[in-house]
């Protein structure tokens, strides 16, 4: 029972859920933003370190995206892996064909996923 106090349903009445968002959602993510303020002191905008940090960010974001495509959560699981990758490729194609338009690329990729979810859903 005592372990139960850490479950959401104990917190879900009145003002508790708002407090839960602050303690268990806001603080654990905000701490990284705050830490950056102290780390960035004395770093010049043209410095070599900053170039490295930017490369780390880029690789991290690429990994976040790759993980969503390879192992998605929720409704995206309705679409088979090859179709998710295929939709990404189509998005890319539209982006390049339509003079590097991100908007065209996004709509093509998303359209392809919706089409795959309708006509090629994963058998459950």
């Amino acid at each position: 029972m005592s372990a139960d106090i850490w479950k959401w349903h104990w917190w879900s009445g009145g003002l508790w859920p708002y407090l839960a968002v602050i303690i268990f959602g806001f603080l654990p993510s905000e701490i990284w933003r705050l830490m950056s303020i102290f780390l960035v002191r004395g770093i010049d905008e043209k410095s070599e370190v900053l170039e490295w940090v930017r490369a780390v960010s880029t690789a991290l974001l690429a990994a976040v995206v790759a993980n969503i495509v390879v192992a998605p959560a929720g409704a995206l699981q309705l679409v088979p892996l090859w179709a998710r990758v295929g939709a990404m490729v189509l998005g890319f194609a539209a982006y390049f064909v339509l003079r590097k338009s991100v908007l065209a690329g996004v709509f093509t990729g998303v359209g392809a996923v919706i089409a795959a979810a309708i006509w090629l859903p994963v058998a459950r």
Binding site: V21, S57, A59, L61
Partner: protein, 233 residues
Amino acid sequence: MRTALHGPMYFLGLTFVGIGGLAQQADMPLGVVLLTTVLIWAGPAQVIFIGSIINGLSLPAIALSISLSSVRLLPMCVSLLPWLRGQKPSMLLTVFSTHQIAVTAWVESIRRLPDMPASERLAWFMGFTQTLFVGALAATGVGYLLAGALPKELAAGLLFVTPVYFTLALFRNARDAIDWSALALGFVLAPVSRSFLSPGFDLLFVGLIGGTTAWVIKRTLRRRASKSGGVVP
């Protein structure tokens, strides 16, 4: 603000419609999910928070996985902050501006800020991110109220907005060897590392290894170019 009203606003809005819908599924009060948008302000972390509540995880476990997924905010803020302090902003304003940094704000700002006069950067950044904020809040509410009415095929499409937009924006931003190699390494290493590292740590591993390798590649190319007297890449 005008920048925000083009693509980024729509993509972010569609993502937050998805988040609002997820929260409704979790039986979360509307005010609570709006608070996650204001305070957490990071799509992937909000999806983890709400998704874990649906799956019945304990709150400390949720806090840990949120913190792991948000480590990426550290390099993102460190690389962006130096561009925002031209006017020597106060500590409070600095804290406020770091809170605005999330993927969409980062991917658009890191591209535009360097080309702007130093005195205009912070004002542009604030206008841009505040517009995104208002749009995301409205979208969260719309998603919450529409949930249930949304066919699952469309929900799948909404969840695909984030990966395809981020990918294209990162490619559009890439200018030289370091960007291209960091991107390519991130995509290639992610599926490999997730097979042997626990969630959260796999991203850190890819970021550090991929980013450092990309940086080394660039340095090597530059040294070679300067030796042969060629053009710096």
